[in-house]
């Protein structure tokens, strides 16, 4: 379909995905109560307003600190200022977990290199050895006088 996630074509209709929000509502409702269809749609609009409100307030906090990008602390302050302080404690828990996830992902990317068990110098040395070997192979293949541009990259097309 479209290259977006199938969102609305018109920017004015931009809102959270209905199915997702409907599902959340259903989960938050007690067993014996349901939400009328028009009420669900209304809630969807309220979410939009809420996001705009928090974002705008966070931006104000951000500007007061002479920053250009809204940071996490700005959002937390904004929530407090707008009277949603009770969300802060609950959001804080998710925030800490989120940051843990971020560092874990970053750690995972670097372990591949460290798992080799070689230091950077050793890696460089082994690389140079490989280059030298490849160069020798290349020079032995060509019986002509070797060209002066001894860029290892030209002789070395392997990994």
């Amino acid at each position: 379909m479209s290259d977006y996630e199938g969102g609305p074509a018109n920017e004015d209709d931009l809102s959270l995905p209905r199915a997702t929000v409907y599902k959340l509502i259903a989960e938050m409702m007690p067993e014996d109560i349901v939400c009328a269809k028009d009420t669900r749609d209304l809630l969807l609009e309220c979410c939009n307003e809420f996001i705009h409100l928090i974002a705008s307030e966070s931006n104000d906090v951000c500007e007061k600190e002479a920053k250009k990008t809204i940071a996490a602390e700005h959002v937390l302050t904004a929530l407090q200022d707008l009277g949603f302080g009770k969300y802060v404690t609950e959001v804080q828990e998710a925030y800490d977990e989120h940051r843990k996830q971020q560092t874990k992902d970053r750690g995972r990317k670097s372990t591949k290199l460290s798992q080799l068990g070689m230091s950077e110098e050793e890696l460089l040395r082994s690389q140079e050895l490989l280059f030298a070997e490849a160069r020798m192979r290349f020079q032995s293949q060509t019986s002509q006088a070797p060209s002066n541009d001894s860029t290892p990259a030209s002789a070395n097309s392997t990994h």
Partner: protein, 109 residues
């Protein structure tokens, strides 16, 4: 009650949001005054919105219960918005109950 919070609690435990980040970001970006929003902030706003949904749903169905109904209706949410100060920003979206007089005047137009 525990089952209803399962998804939100689980999401909190894993540090994720049930709302799609890209969509939330697009909504935020509609405000031209906003220069940039970090991904952590985006996450926090998403989570806060989920708690907002939870709060508004709860407050609304309290009014349904008071009226001994099993369906949460528009008027329940309207009452919830009116009764809580933090929800003043929603006053324009959920105007208080339209009186019959107002309905009559709109019909004549």
């Amino acid at each position: 009650m525990a089952a209803s919070e399962a998804n939100t609690v689980a999401a909190a435990a894993t540090g994720t949001s049930n709302l799609p980040a890209a969509r939330v970001r697009r909504i935020i970006k509609e405000d031209k005054d906003i220069f940039a929003c970090g991904s952590e902030s985006l996450f926090l706003i998403s989570r806060a919105t989920e708690y907002f949904i939870d709060s508004l749903v709860r407050e609304s169905y309290e009014f349904s219960r008071l009226d001994k109904r099993k369906t949460v209706q528009y008027k329940d949410m309207a009452k919830a918005v009116q009764s809580i100060e933090q929800y003043d920003f929603l006053a324009d979206i959920i105007p208080p109950t339209v009186s019959v007089r107002k309905l009559a005047t709109t019909e004549t137009q």
